[in-house]
């Protein structure tokens, strides 16, 4: 394909390649969707929401870096990581909708649920930069912890009772390992860098550390499905310790997870930041239902 100027490609009606993302097809079209009899559909619905919301909410947070990255390459990197997570979220929320069987699709679940119905962990939603709550180093600290945990989680989901979730995990695992290594390389570079970068990296790790415990605290739905997140803790600790050692960072002291009457993100109880995040994520769809571009 060649064009005399860039605008011609935008009106290339014959190929209809003017842009991507003009509409969403169903992301699981053609995949065998039957819910296995060994899996409780209600539990599967809730668990897919947990996994899907983790990915969706962190994707939204990372997208806030668009045009604000410390350098062009990193701007592109964060957008790419956000896109991978968004893709995983679409597949997982679609699966959640199928398990629920009430006719809600990915859009209904992403845009039309209120805060109390989101099941993501707090780590995904807290502000870690570019705005309040941190900077690029904090964002990398969060990405390292989140993706190290997700790699261990998805690894175990490869043999999950629902083959659709297992397939989504197999697909996402390779992406998450790449994200984790990217974050790890930055944590080492900043931690083992100048006094200034070291201090910012140290502050970044401290910022996200109180949200670590929640990642390994099982929700009853997870226990019923045989996917206790506590089983991932040793593997995640090992990865974090290896990165901290190379980065010259101390592992912070354990901080007990902040919970409200024993409840946290998995129960729909969120931090103050969540409402603002959802306002930005959902506003357009709620104001102009079905809007496309």
């Amino acid at each position: 394909m060649s064009f005399d100027n860039a605008y011609e490609s935008l009106v290339d009606h014959e190929d209809e390649h003017w842009a991507f993302g003009t509409g969403f097809a169903e992301p699981l079209a053609g995949v065998d969707r039957e819910i296995p009899s060994a899996v409780d559909a209600g539990d599967l619905f809730e668990y897919c929401l947990m996994l899907g919301d983790d990915a969706l909410v962190l994707s939204q947070r990372l997208a806030e870096w668009c045009s604000r990255g410390p350098e062009l390459e990193e701007d592109v990197a964060l957008a790419n990581i956000a896109l991978d997570l968004l893709g995983q979220a679409r597949l997982l929320l679609t699966r959640a909708g199928e398990a629920e069987g009430a006719g809600r699709d990915e859009d209904a679940l992403a845009y039309l649920r209120d805060e109390r119905h989101f099941r993501n962990v707090h780590l995904a939603e807290i502000e870690c930069g570019p705005f309040a709550g941190g900077d690029f180093a904090t964002t990398m600290a969060r990405l390292l912890v989140f993706s190290s945990w997700k790699v261990a989680q998805y690894q175990r989901l490869l043999s999950f009772a629902d083959p659709v979730v297992a397939a989504i995990a197999a697909k996402g695992l390779k992406e998450l390992a790449y994200h984790r290594d990217h974050a790890a390389q930055w944590v080492v570079r900043l931690g083992d860098g100048t006094p200034e970068s070291h201090e910012r990296m140290r502050a970044g790790v401290l910022r996200v550390w109180p949200y670590l415990d929640e990642l390994f605290t099982a929700h009853p739905v997870e226990l019923r499905l045989g996917v206790d997140p506590a089983a991932t803790r040793a593997e995640v600790d090992q990865v974090l310790d290896a990165v901290f050692a190379a980065a010259g960072l101390d592992r912070p002291d354990p901080v007990p997870a902040a919970r409200v009457n024993g409840r946290a993100g998995r129960d729909g109880v969120h931090t103050e930041a969540m409402g603002y995040l959802l306002a930005e994520l959902q506003h357009l769809h709620r104001s102009l239902p079905g809007a496309t571009w």
């Binding site: 992301p27 893709g87 679409r90 397939a167």
Partner: protein, 199 residues
């Protein structure tokens, strides 16, 4: 995936799609035969990737199956990355091309498992990428089972410069213009170039 009947063209990796002229529009969808399956396969195999137009979907390894069932063409594709925005476009292009070739009923299915790997890019596809100045991915081989080992440093370069062939290349950015590419530079000819990263 739904198992299709006997009229199916198994899709062999490395099979070079036959170059052919624009297919004639058929008007009467009469009896579907094995030749229809072949034709559908040829048409589907020549649809190009919207983001890497030097490659066909067959070259890229995302075209997993073409079958004809009750007069309908069933095409199965697999996404490269979970968030690949080109998947919808691939489906639309497949439907358009197959309709133009006279297949009125076309269904495009998405297969997630087994997950796509860059090892599925055909030898022909690798040549086309290199000719277009994009370094093809190295072969990964069988996937190891168990925890994914942490990598704190970029892997030793096995990527040759697609322009001058020098093996002395460095990674500039782990992410590039599309989900599947990283950016590198040749230390000898100093040209930056894109590289399909191995997954």
């Amino acid at each position: 995936m739904v198992t299709a009947p006997a009229e199916r063209a198994a899709f062999a990796e490395g099979a070079a799609p036959v170059e052919r002229a624009a297919p004639a529009v058929r008007t009467a969808p009469a009896v579907r035969t094995a030749s229809d399956v072949r034709t559908a396969l040829e048409v589907a195999a020549q649809v190009r990737d919207p983001e890497l137009p030097v490659l066909t979907l067959a070259d890229l390894g995302v075209l997993r199956d073409v079958a004809v069932e009750d007069g309908r063409v069933l095409v199965t594709i697999t996404p490269t990355y979970s968030g690949c925005p080109a998947v919808d476009e691939m489906g639309a292009d497949l439907r358009r091309s197959l309709r133009a070739a006279g297949f009125e009923q076309v269904e495009v299915r998405l297969s997630l498992s087994p997950a796509w790997t860059t090892d599925w890019i055909t030898d022909d596809g690798r040549r086309k990428l290199a000719d277009a100045g994009i370094a093809p991915p190295s072969r990964l081989g069988p996937v190891a089972v168990g925890p994914v080992p942490l990598r704190l440093t970029p892997p030793p370069s096995r990527v040759a410069c697609p322009r001058c062939g020098s093996p002395r290349t460095v990674e500039l950015s782990r992410f590039g213009s599309t989900a599947c590419k990283a950016l590198r530079r040749c230390e000898d000819c100093a040209e930056p170039f894109e590289h399909i990263k191995e997954i």
